[in-house]
């Protein structure tokens, strides 16, 4: 364990001016890291690799409702854009990967595993719900008897700069899931934006020795009690502003008991089984593995690709798919998130980020559906 009593150690708090974000990004880029940060493009704030700190989205607000997301330019705040469509799994557990290649020659067949990724990411702007989601994903991908070495290699090389929320989107419900709007662990540094305009400052909380080591590049001063109080007050206001919630007490049990609830039929009339909710969800981890060969038959690859429980083929066993109906597929998804995940991994599979609500083309709302499923039958 590093010495936590030295200056800039874990648990300590500092402040820097608003421009410190660009200094931080520039420093991480200069270290040779792949810096992934919020970028405004195509009408949304997405997370993408940047090459220049000037690419970081700034002065952007969002309006996020069921099936609806709009980004607008407003003010100069760095991080009031809350959350967009990109889950961080995109970088740790990418949409497509080649696992092995096989080449046939006169000497036989040579099998070559794709080398482990040499990633060294810095995630800049991880929200508390997403920090919790990365934790959930860690336990799924590396917690069992067969850890995914590719995930582990990427994850071990990743530095996390979290950003606490002082604004909630209408789709947020992290407060009820206990994951936000303020992060308490799992980060290297956690930032809280304070003030506006020329008064913009960042409170910096240190979560690891690697985070502490970054402070030298940042020009920081010790935080005052007033800075800490402002950050706490902001997070409390963001929590208070949330209009959506899921009551977690008894949740897993209630959803299990609702297996034959007529409400599943009602959701199935709306659900497009389009897979969007699972693609944007930061904890949905499913992938499929396919073997492809080229025209000459001399080269084949084993490829992994994100898959979704909303596809018929996902539950294909001998003789056909087990979950043919849209009802069965939506039930599988929600039940896994809010109930059977607990049996499997000892926690819930939802952190309350609200992405599935906003990015569902028809605005199906997991908080509403869960509430309907807990109502006794009409």
């Amino acid at each position: 364990m590093p010495d936590v009593r030295q200056s800039g150690a874990m648990g300590e708090a500092f402040v820097m001016d608003g421009g410190g974000i660009e200094r931080l990004a520039a420093h991480l880029l200069a270290e040779g890291r792949s810096v992934v940060a919020p970028v405004a493009r195509d009408g949304a704030v997405v997370y993408d690799a940047i090459e220049d700190p000037a690419e970081i989205a700034r002065g952007v607000r969002i309006d996020s409702r069921p099936g609806h997301y709009r980004m607008e330019r407003d003010g100069t705040a760095w991080f009031d854009h809350v959350i967009g469509p990109t889950p961080w799994k995109r970088f740790l557990h990418p949409p497509r990967e080649t696992l092995y290649s096989m080449t046939r020659s006169d000497d036989g067949i040579e099998v070559e595993a794709t080398p482990l990724p040499q990633a060294s990411f810095a995630f800049l702007g991880v929200r508390p719900c997403d920090l919790a989601a990365i934790g959930v994903l860690d336990r799924v991908m590396t917690g069992g008897a067969h850890p995914d070495p590719r995930y582990a290699a990427r994850r071990n090389g990743t530095l996390i700069i979290a950003v606490n929320c002082r604004v909630s989107a209408e789709t947020c419900f992290c407060a009820s899931m206990g994951s936000g709007p303020r992060a308490d662990a799992g980060y290297d540094l956690a930032l809280s934006e304070l003030g506006t305009g020329a008064q913009t400052r960042f409170l910096i909380e240190v979560g690891s020795a690697a985070g502490s080591a970054l402070l030298e590049a940042l020009d920081v001063a010790p935080a005052t009690e007033a800075d800490l109080a402002e950050a706490r007050w902001n997070a409390a206001a963001a929590a208070d502003a949330q209009t959506r919630a899921i009551e977690t007490e008894g949740l897993a049990r209630d959803i299990r008991a609702a297996a034959e609830h007529p409400h599943w039929d009602e959701v199935a009339t709306r659900c497009l089984n389009c897979t969007n909710c699972t693609m944007v969800c930061p904890t949905c981890f499913c992938s499929t593995t396919v073997e492809v060969s080229d025209l000459t038959g001399a080269h084949a690859e084993r490829q992994q690709r994100w898959d979704s429980c909303f596809n018929v083929g996902f539950s294909h066993l001998h003789g056909g798919a087990v979950r043919q109906s849209g009802r069965a597929r939506y039930r599988q998804w929600l039940t896994h998130k809010l109930s059977t995940w607990e049996d499997q991994f000892g926690e819930l599979g939802c952190t309350g980020c609200g992405r599935c609500i906003a990015w569902c083309p028809v605005g199906i709302d997991i908080t509403e559906e869960a509430a309907s499923l807990r109502r006794t039958e009409p």
Binding site: R41, D42, G43, A44, V46, D48, G67, H68, Y69, R70, M71, P85, T86, R90, P95, R96, T269, R270, C271, L272, N273, C274, T275, N276, M279, V280, V290, E291, V292, S293, D294, L295, T296, G297, A300, R305, W306, S308, F310, N311, V312, G313, Q324, G326, A358, W359, P361, V362, G363
Partner: protein, 258 residues
Amino acid sequence: MPPRPRLGVFKFSSCDGCQLSLLDCERELLDVAGALEIAYFAEAVSAEDTGHYDVALVEGSVTTEAEALHIHDIRARSTTLVTIGACATSGGIQALKNGGNAAGFLKMVYPTPAWLHTLESATAISDHVKVDHELRGCPISKHQLLELIAALLAGRRPQTEPHATCLECKLAGQVCVMVAEGKPCLGPVTHAGCGALCPGYARGCYGCFGPKETANTASLSAQLGALGESPARIARAFSTFNTNAPEFRAEAEAQGDD
């Protein structure tokens, strides 16, 4: 070396765009020609149509009496028959005439309609003979064509998944144009295969690849209505290249096709 499997490429009522996708393969074309004997392909080689084919690629819909007979001949002489594109797979844009006044359309367009001998409707190849594989799209994706040929050669299942275009849109990291811009998009009910090309260029999906598995067109139509599309416009959106696909036709009719 064993003889290469014989490939035949056949055209019915269509625009040739799907066949041209094969010529478009450029870099891979030599591999195709190395792996298969291109025995009949009017667009590329001058050989006559004779004998048996291991693989027949069929483009176009059945729109004439002669085509309705010819497809049986090809089927009888082919081991594996693959339809390529929206025309062959669901009838194509020409199937817009189905259920309409075909004779009236002829009169409107041609000075001497009596010289034309067409059927009342344009139909999919599978309405006439057994089809072994379908490639969707208007036109097909070159990538899917190569994948299908490679799979047939290797005796494995082709990776031409029937799920929604949305999955490809998200794999590509695109921002949903329907959610972020309120643009109508058929991606949620459309078969994957194009890589979500149109949303990548900030337009909604036009449904070139036809209905996905278990397409919930009614729910999508309700959302398109909420975004401001009229029933007539929704009906038109479902009445393009795959107008004759049962799911799209039924949805257009439910919207009160005009």
